[in-house]
Symmetry: C2
Subunit: 315 residues, 2 copies
């Protein structure tokens, strides 16, 4: 299935910018347009890499970086505030070639957590690092840092004050309640797969809480023999369901198609547990799936010979 | 398979105290006896709970606590030192009933990390917490703390100095190189399963490095419908292989027996990746498996009607 022959017909890229209670009636046209533009830009930048013969790994890193840099999305710049008024970000990246992975959790002030995750994967024996120790490693790896102001977003700060008033832990809720994460999955011309995910977590979250994003197998997974998956949703449920790897197992051990495996995980397993959210996935033939079990998911996708699509609601 | 009828015939408890390069010729008789006594005590305390009609969850927590309190094992008291001369401990617990889970990583000065993980599971919405934020939560949950001296062990400190001299990150290597972790899995009379794992990580490890122990699906997993698993080994490989959940998937999606699923993961998948270590597992009928792909694994097991067994080497 994944020979080293170049075959452009399987090129595919899917990205998401979070899922949740996204209601059309609560969304201004200007805001909707801004989200769609942001998704379109991230998709375009990743697609350029794939079309130019680049690797899936480069495409997903680039698409996620673009969303991390965009304050509209809850990752990198624009990350939500923790209860203490700080930012704690998580990210992961995985290559379907050789099951290599890198993931970082509870890091602050790192401009692009996904790039840190990739360097960790490529330049160290560690797969997962957390907190201040992780930041020291990021510095050694030459990752770019940014001052607290860079991450500060007035809208996110208002969300924190509101959540504190209501004493509620919020999944990123702009404009409704959304489960803020960004992610990308891709299949390149050689049939190699990759997945990347990045998040600022939950508004007003407890300092130290780790979601599914940085957990290989839960929020992020890739294996050339099956699929690449990036999840977005209520992280605790995705961890307990080992959601991303479950998609791969349903394919390799039960013979399900990518679409059926994704539907089973999102609309049966997670739904039964009460785990709101969705995921994006791609297989080595360039098939894609984007199921979600809540009102909406910010998403965009493109496959060889098809025009790019951007969507928010279930329509 | 897992009815609520009480059936003592399926009672089973398996524990491990780490795996790795454990060589008979490097082990003194006194040390071997001490390890065996430690395993025997932990097994006995957990078994008492199961025999008394107690829950698998209580049995695995108790068995792991006993090993955390014993400085011979690399968990709780007796944890190895990080490069900075501190202790950073990880632990996880999972109940096969309802897939509930709690896990903590990079915590210091908490006497019994496994008990903290259980309280996190039972009293908070979080599944995984890390670092200083985790310690604040532990305090609120009333977990017992201990001063640095409590965790200090002269033998472990000598290991750190030696590893620093050799500039090497060590998996706990007493007396040879062992992959220091403790864990327990159990099946109770109602057919409920549980798994728990706890570790002090790797000698001279980078501050912030997270292994597989606290990762649900990698080092720890339990589902009444399939199995409970606790792993010990080179954590990065177990994370990339999503090892514990892979055992469950081979059973539920491919129909493999517990034994065959465990052999496949340890002796095929992990071995091919170069991931040294082993795991212990139990299913809802009380079948057990304890495969490892390295020289030895500190282990002990007991099932209904059989006498307790303790072993270290492959014999």
């Amino acid at each position: 299935m994944n020979s080293e022959t170049k075959d452009e017909s399987r090129l595919a890229l899917v990205i998401h910018g979070g899922a949740g209670t996204i209601r059309r009636e609560e969304m201004s046209l200007a805001r909707e347009t801004a989200y769609k533009d942001g998704l379109q830009e991230a998709l375009g930048r990743g697609w350029e890499i794939l079309k130019g013969g680049g690797a899936a790994l480069d495409a997903v890193e680039e698409a996620v970086r673009v969303m991390e840099d965009n304050p509209l999305f809850n990752a990198g710049r624009g990350s939500v505030f923790t209860h203490d008024g700080k930012h704690e970000m998580d990210a992961a990246i995985m290559s379907g070639e050789g099951l290599r992975a890198g993931a970082v959790t509870a890091v602050s002030l790192i401009k692009n957590p996904v790039t840190f995750a990739r360097r960790l994967m490529e330049k160290t024996p560690q797969v997962l690092v957390c907190g201040r120790g992780a930041e020291e490693i990021a510095r050694e790896l030459g990752c770019e840092f940014a001052p607290p102001e860079y991450f500060h977003d007035a809208f996110r700060y208002e969300q924190l004050l509101e959540a504190r008033r209501e004493q509620e832990v919020r999944l990123d809720h702009s404009p409704g309640k959304t489960l803020g994460t960004v992610g990308a999955v891709a299949c390149d011309a050689r049939g190699h797969l990759a997945a990347a995910t990045s998040t600022g977590g939950m508004t007003n979250k407890r300092f130290g809480r780790v979601g599914d994003t940085a957990i290989i197998g839960a929020g992020t997974y890739a294996d050339d023999r099956t699929c690449a998956v990036s999840c977005t949703g209520y992280g605790e449920f995705f961890i307990r369901a080992v959601a991303a790897y479950d998609v791969a197992c349903l394919m390799k051990y039960k013979g399900l198609s990518l679409q059926d495996a994704c539907e089973m995980v999102v609309n049966v397993t997670l739904r039964e547990m009460g785990g709101d959210g969705g995921l994006i996935a791609v297989d080595g033939m360039g098939h894609i799936a984007l199921p979600f079990n809540c009102e909406g998911m910010y998403r965009a996708w493109i496959t060889q010979g098809q025009t790019a699509r951007v969507a928010i609601y279930r329509d």
